[in-house]
């Protein structure tokens, strides 16, 4: 017991190197299997979700040997319900990530004694309402994540009666998303068309002057790529990119703005002057 206290004192002054040699051995074993170990204010944070995803049930024993782990991340590792047996004695745990692993209802009995647990993430696992029943003893639990699991409305309602302060995150219903966010309809083409004023001299394209915000739908019906060039308020030309043969672009613009169209070698073809409304600008062959 004194040993633990000494370790925590060392943690408070942020000198993990002062901790005991056997802790150092344990930490080395954890690092060997891809884990990272950091000092938090109140204990150790151990994570496997980045470089330790090949972690298996047996290897969890190294983590169990480290005293004072408050935060453990096993996301996307290869652990199963059997491995959770190793967590049984880790009563200092406050935060536990088990999401996207193979754990299921069978393993939850091992978590029942983790009285300090505040955060438990089980999203993307095979758990069902049978898991929720086993969590009622975790009186300090504040957040439980069960998106994409077999948990039901009924199970959550029952659990919340026992733990009224608990927030249960169910997430979005993926099958409903398609209905909530239907694919966007292609915008209808404007009914008003701008006339291409043909010229081979860029200096003939007048400067843009200001007006209301509108859209121009450029449609290149010619067989060659063209360039879209905005004639600035100061008369300077600004390239807005290329439009491939057959391509269309919806371009934000303003009434009384001037758009010069050139071929790929910057030879002018003509220009459009925007009107006060959304309009189509067709480059014909």
């Amino acid at each position: 017991m004194n040993r633990t206290r000494y370790l925590l004192l060392a943690l408070l002054i942020q000198l993990p190197a002062v901790s005991f040699a056997d802790d150092q051995d344990t930490i080395a074993s954890i690092r060997k299997v891809g884990g990272t170990v950091r000092v938090l204010e109140k204990g150790w944070e151990v994570e496997f979700h980045l470089s330790g995803r090949s972690l298996t049930d047996d290897q969890l024993i190294h983590v169990a040997q480290l005293n004072g782990v408050t935060s453990l991340n096993l996301k996307r590792t290869k652990i199963t319900s059997e491995g959770l047996l190793h967590l049984k004695g880790m009563t200092s745990l406050q935060l536990l990530h088990l999401e996207l692993t193979a754990v299921d209802d069978q393993g939850m009995q091992h978590l029942a004694g983790l009285k300090d647990l505040k955060y438990l993430n089980l999203y993307g696992t095979e758990i069902t309402d049978k898991t929720l029943v086993q969590l009622v003893g975790l009186k300090n639990l504040q957040r439980l994540y069960v998106w994409q699991t077999g948990v039901t409305d009924e199970g959550v309602t029952k659990l919340k009666k026992q733990l009224p302060k608990l927030q249960v995150m169910r997430g979005v219903d993926l099958n409903k998303i398609a209905a909530d966010f239907p694919p966007e309809k292609p915008a209808e083409l404007p009914t008003v068309s701008l006339k291409l004023i043909e010229t081979t001299n860029a200096a003939e394209a007048p400067r843009s002057t200001g007006g209301d915000n509108i859209e121009v739908v450029f449609q290149n019906k010619s067989a060659r790529p063209v360039k879209l060039v905005w004639v600035g308020y100061d008369g300077k030309l600004k390239l807005y990119g290329e439009l491939a043969a057959g391509a269309m672009r919806v371009q934000n613009s303003y009434a009384n703005n001037c758009w010069l169209i050139t071929d790929k070698t910057d030879e002018p073809i003509g220009y459009f002057i925007c009107g006060p409304e959304r309009a189509l600008a067709v480059i014909a062959e």
Binding site: T36, L50, S51, H97, E99, Y119, N121, Y123, R143, Y145, W147, M169, R170, G171, V172, L174, N175, I177, A178, D180, F181, P183, E184, G210, D212, N213, E215, W230, G232, Y233, K238, Y240, V250, Q251, N252, S253, Y254
Partner: protein, 358 residues
């Protein structure tokens, strides 16, 4: 986004003194007044918030400290200052990465061909062979510092290409198509999605530019609404912003990531309370709002207020430095820490006071 107010802390009383885009962005991103003759690439500049936070992180090998998406910010073709590593040095310039999907914002966005694009066009075995060959050739080369620095980034790029978690995160095709649909088929939404995937893969800091990359005199889909403010917000900007941010907050929450992820909304300054003759709103740094979510911030609150005409802060006036100090506190960084530049000059991370938003 209204449905997420329970997660948001909105600070309504920020103010600073710089009404130009370059100066305003620099002030907002670095929490320091801009020097005269401000230039984006000056190593004497203050580091951006993203760069400074990333200075205190310790990511896995092959993982950048910070990433920016999807392009540089420009004001009429001039590179915008404030989003670089500054005196922290090149190691802390956030790595620029191209978002590989989504309809572009209308207007001008400039790619430089230097954005990282992790789509591998060569066969992996050939890349490995070439890398082995290069390593043999390099044994005879000296150990100059510049060389080592470049080598560090080259190694990082190679690690990212050759089957790391970053490459996996970059491949948006691996995401559930329903989740992709939730974020919206737009570079704004897909960048937010990529940001989530990159942080999940261990990148400590990701910054997303949520508009066209160049302000282009107020044309295009950016927030510089000198003309047609209301129509532009309603038709062009807010549909993308609302959908992508809502999706991000929903998604972080359902995955259990919002508690350990701080979402920060930044801008250069606010807009004038008076509407101009073009139905627009001009630059206004005297009072504006920003927001935070997740990362231990208490949601469902507003802090500070503006006066009845929206001209000045009325209560709890605060500065970009206070806002930055709040971010450092949420990230567990002591904002009074002293750091040194390459000439060993001492700097304090941030001079502000954290706001009581926790």
């Amino acid at each position: 986004m209204g449905k997420h107010s329970d997660k948001l802390a909105i600070v309504r009383s920020l103010h600073h003194k710089h009404g130009g885009h370059q100066q305003g962005m620099y002030t907002s991103m670095t929490a320091h007044d801009p020097p005269g003759g401000l230039k984006a690439k000056n190593r004497d500049n203050w580091p951006s918030l993203a760069a400074m936070v990333s200075r205190f992180q310790d990511p896995q090998a092959g993982t950048p400290n910070a990433i920016r998406l999807p392009y540089n910010m420009y004001d009429n073709g001039t590179l915008m200052a404030g989003e670089y590593g500054g005196w922290l040095g090149a190691d802390y310039d956030p790595v620029l990465m191209r978002t590989p999907a989504g309809k572009p914002f209308g207007g001008v966005s400039r790619y430089t061909s230097r954005e990282l694009d992790l789509k591998l066009t060569l066969e992996k075995s050939r890349v490995l062979q070439r890398r082995a060959l290069r390593q043999q050739l390099e044994r005879s080369v000296g150990n100059e510092t510049d060389y080592e620095r470049m080598d560090r980034f080259r190694k990082m790029a190679a690690d990212m290409l050759l089957g790391s978690a970053i490459e996996e995160a970059y491949d948006l095709e691996r995401e559930d198509p329903r989740i992709r649909a939730m974020y919206g088929d737009h570079i704004g939404g897909q960048s937010m999605l990529l940001a989530r995937r990159l942080t999940e893969a261990g990148v400590p800091v990701v910054q997303v530019c949520a508009g066209a990359g160049d302000l282009a005199g107020g044309g295009g889909d950016n927030w510089d609404t000198h003309r047609g403010h209301f129509a532009k917000l309603k038709n062009r900007l807010l549909p993308v912003f609302d959908r992508s941010v809502s999706a991000l907050l929903t998604d972080l929450e359902q995955r259990g990531l919002l508690e350990e992820t701080l979402v920060v909304f930044l801008t250069d300054f606010g807009r004038t309370p008076k509407i101009n003759k073009n139905a627009g709103r001009d630059h206004y740094p005297a009072v504006y709002s920003l927001a935070l979510a997740g990362g231990g911030i208490r949601g469902g609150q507003v802090y500070g207020s503006s006066d009845t005409s929206g001209a000045q802060p009325a209560t709890n006036a605060c500065t970009p430095a206070d806002f930055h100090a709040t971010v450092y506190k949420a990230m567990g960084i002591n904002h009074h820490t002293e750091l040194h530049d390459h000439l060993d000059r001492p700097y304090r991370v941030c001079d502000g006071q954290p706001l009581p938003l926790f």
